[in-house]
Symmetry: C2
Subunit: 140 residues, 2 copies
């Protein structure tokens, strides 16, 4: 269990550097008043917001557009009990600006599988927290 | 993005078999009305509930005791775009029965780091869902 005050808190810059290392994270939201979680591939935008690419008619888009969500990514090595975890909390919104959509089609994340129509979802990195869970090589 | 109907749904037995392969998952809950997520090591009990071991005065215990939470575990290979994800949704509760606590001290999950006092949290596997995200060796 990683809920332990002995773990070192990571600052925002360390968190963003670690997030940039991994291709997959998890969106945490509420679905029919119950906690829900969905793995996603993602990329970080230049303003440190988290970018997802999905189908415009997906359940996820309906559930998260305009609401505050959490986004988590991590890496662990169970053998050495080391690793890190980073959580971004912020408002999620579908990118509706055509120019911005076009920019992300070039430079944003690709869908995990090809999609006929794709939308981008941006999660603002309003609060970024992270913990070093015990001396992983990925942390300073 | 894994929100895609093309992904094969996994049945409960497949989900539990995959869960048993990995040491770390993520508890998804609500904290001060916001979505929250915390990585945890865990084990599966004989009745397929998810068992965590943590400090009795942890924020997590205060947040999840007696409420419905989600628990997610996954494995991915970004290079081959394959993997799986399993989500257990159910009521979480601290194990208070002394005999049950003692049984879990012998057979339950160990804390990630040594704890002076530990409690076990059980998440009932009321709803178990999973998806094969593209032909991982871990799935049949």
């Amino acid at each position: 269990m990683f809920q332990n005050d002995a773990f070192r808190a990571l600052d925002r810059q360390e968190c963003l550097r670690l997030l940039a290392k991994v291709p997959v994270g998890r969106v945490v939201y509420t679905k029919r008043a119950l906690p829900a979680v969905l793995p996603v591939n993602f990329s970080l935008d230049t303003d440190a917001s988290v970018l997802l690419c999905t189908s415009p008619d997906s359940d996820l888009v309906r559930a998260v557009d305009g609401v505050v969500v959490a986004f988590e990514a991590d890496e662990f090595d169970a053998a050495t009990r080391s690793g890190w975890s980073v959580v971004v909390t912020g408002r999620a919104a579908v990118v509706t600006d055509p120019a911005e959509h076009e920019r992300l089609r070039q430079a944003g994340p690709a869908p995990w599988r090809p999609l006929r129509h794709a939308v981008f979802v941006r999660i603002e990195s309003e609060v970024v927290t992270g913990r070093d869970l015990g001396g992983t090589p990925g942390t300073p």
